[in-house]
């Protein structure tokens, strides 16, 4: 348990730093992140530009702050989308059982049979490579995992006595589902949603790195790395800081996720 608090603390600090940077990037940055400065191209980190400037003379720190906003925004919307869709599908499937469950789970498993970000790549071809395309593509790609976890929880819950009691008391199916079953699924949903936030931020930066994400000049950590790539020999900082931002964010989410899982999932207790 000692381990848990330490990991949880570091994770919380990293995530708090991410959220603060994103909030800061919402209304303030040291320089205009889009302002070109042809006299200040590829400048090394200095007191004027803490993290240097890029190939167009734009301030890297300012772009990282605004990029944090993009990551958090896309991550939050993706996770919300996947959680709402996945939870509803899982609830219906697990509660209805029978042929409805069979059909939903068959489609669900087919979507889960696509590896990694492949399904998201295919969906991006449909929705178009932009911010909202990414949110829909990743949201749809992640919903099946949520649906599966929620369905599993519902299947074991619906046999419990307090659910039986709710029905005997004459409560409607929908009431029982949302008032009694859903609140008891919150723990597994929280654990999965936390990891999903990490997947979403990683996938978003990977897709932006591939040029399929948020199009430049709007900064995201992924497209900053891609744009800085040809210059990394003269300007190491262009390859260093955006990647560091992604890695620290993911580390924070992983640590926090581990801590949450230890706390909320009793089966994992003692294994960490």
């Amino acid at each position: 348990m000692k381990n848990f608090t330490f990991n949880g603390l570091i994770g919380s600090i990293l995530i708090a730093a991410l959220l603060l940077s994103a909030a800061l990037g919402l209304f303030w940055s040291p320089y205009d992140p889009m302002k070109l400065g042809f006299t200040a191209r590829l400048e090394a980190p200095s007191s004027a530009h803490w993290l240097g400037t890029d190939e167009f003379g734009r301030d890297v720190l300012s772009r990282l702050l605004v990029g944090a906003r993009a990551s958090v925004w896309i991550g939050t919307l993706t996770v919300t989308f996947a959680t709402v869709c996945g939870t509803l599908i899982g609830l219906v499937s697990g509660y209805a059982r029978g042929w409805i469950d069979a059909v939903i789970m068959a489609v669900n498993n087919a979507l889960l049979a696509f590896p990694g970000i492949l399904l998201a790549l295919g969906l991006l071809a449909v929705f178009g490579a932009n911010q909202y395309g990414i949110i829909f593509a990743l949201g749809i790609a992640y919903s099946p995992s949520m649906a599966r976890v929620v369905r599993g929880a519902v299947l074991s819950l619906r046999e419990r006595e307090f659910i039986e009691a709710s029905k005997v008391m004459g409560n409607g199916e929908l009431y029982t589902m949302f008032r009694h079953i859903l609140p008891n699924c919150v723990a597994p949903i929280t654990v999965l949603a936390t990891s999903m936030f990490g997947w979403a931020i990683l996938s978003e930066s990977a897709l932006s790195f591939l040029g399929l994400g948020v199009p430049p000049p709007a900064p995201t950590w992924g497209n900053m790395l891609a744009a800085g790539r040809p210059f990394i020999e003269q300007a190491v900082w262009l390859g260093l800081f955006p990647g560091l931002a992604i890695a620290l964010t993911l580390l924070g989410i992983n640590l926090l996720g581990d801590a949450l899982r230890d706390k909320l999932d009793p089966r994992m207790r003692g294994l960490k």
Partner: protein, 314 residues
């Protein structure tokens, strides 16, 4: 045993069908008319209609699906809109490039990470354990494309030990080709070690708590016999499944690594086809990778009894 094999094969069948339907449907959802796209801006309505009937787009969707499936089964994945190349040979040749990187990387990562995870579990909460788990968690958090860039910067540009850009196939030039593969493989090995160390550790910990391990120790067996002959054998199953999942996930997510190291693999082909709106190639890549993923997992499942014979009896 035969029943187990047949059962697994039958379970894979509906997945294969549903995956094919999904890929087919996905491409049909893409806005725009493929015929108009193929003919360009100057196309006349009657040319577009002729192209529709040539492509079978004037038929109903179920009919189109059956025709498409029939062609796919015969190995006809269609032709690229961009350069009229046959899709299947193109996809297969690019797949081989990606597969050599992924398979070697997963093999090396497993050989290093699985023993490391078992040792971490054996010395739970010791300094070794904390160091290994800490390292694994950090490795897990480093995106492969950033790690790749850093390795490229260090070994390629600063030290000039390894070639930075390009690709030579191992078949045409063995040592030259291998040099180009070192960095991408190293990147994937380092990243996947993070996942595997944690998995191997968790499943070993679960087994080490069981009574038969206490019994083996009480019997006076040496620690290494307890760990490798008794604990490891039972703990490896879940890790084996994860190795299969990683293999498939890497095939799906290889595009970023291929972009960093400019390797002409399957991932890059798919991304380029999305840019070019080359639907037959996108469709071919999607279908090929997802079916290989199903196949890899099937093979992993079928080999599972080698590590844990209990699943056959279930």
């Amino acid at each position: 045993m035969l029943k187990f094999v047949l059962n697994r094969l039958l379970m894979a069948l509906p997945t294969i069908v549903l995956v094919s339907v999904t890929v087919f449907a996905l491409i049909r959802f893409i806005p725009g008319d493929p015929a108009a796209l193929m003919l360009g801006d100057m196309a006349q309505p009657d040319q577009i209609a002729a192209m529709h009937s040539e492509l079978g787009l004037d038929k109903s969707l179920p009919e189109q699906f059956l025709i498409w499936t029939g062609n796919v089964v015969q190995g006809d994945f269609g032709r690229s809109i961009v350069n009229d190349e046959a899709v299947l040979p193109l996809v297969v040749s690019r797949f081989l490039v990606s597969a050599e990187i992924v398979v070697v990387a997963v093999l090396l990562a497993s050989l290093i990470a699985v023993p490391a995870g078992v040792i971490a579990a054996w010395r739970q909460n010791s300094l070794t354990d904390l160091a290994l788990v800490g390292t694994a968690t950090i490795l897990l958090s480093i995106p492969t494309f950033w790690l790749g860039l850093l390795l490229l910067l260090w070994f390629g540009l600063k030290l000039s030990w390894l070639p930075v850009l390009g690709y030579v196939s191992v078949g045409s030039n063995l040592t030259g080709g291998l040099l180009y593969l070192v960095l991408p493989i190293m990147t994937l090995v380092i990243h996947e070690m993070g996942v595997l160390i944690r998995m191997a550790r968790a499943s070993t910990l679960e087994v080490l708590r069981l009574d038969y391990i206490t019994h083996a120790r009480a019997k006076g067996l040496s620690e290494s016999a307890v760990l490798w002959r008794h604990a490891f054998k039972n703990a490896f199953g879940p890790t084996w499944t994860v190795i299969g999942l990683i293999l498939g996930n890497l095939l799906g997510g290889i595009a970023v690594i291929e972009t960093v190291f400019t390797i002409p693999g399957l991932g890059r082909l798919m991304v380029d086809s999305i840019f070019a709106r080359d639907y037959p190639v996108i469709q071919g890549c999607l279908l090929f990778v997802s079916l290989s993923y199903v196949l890899v997992n099937l093979v992993v499942d079928l080999l599972y009894p080698l590590f844990d014979p209990r699943v056959v009896a279930e």
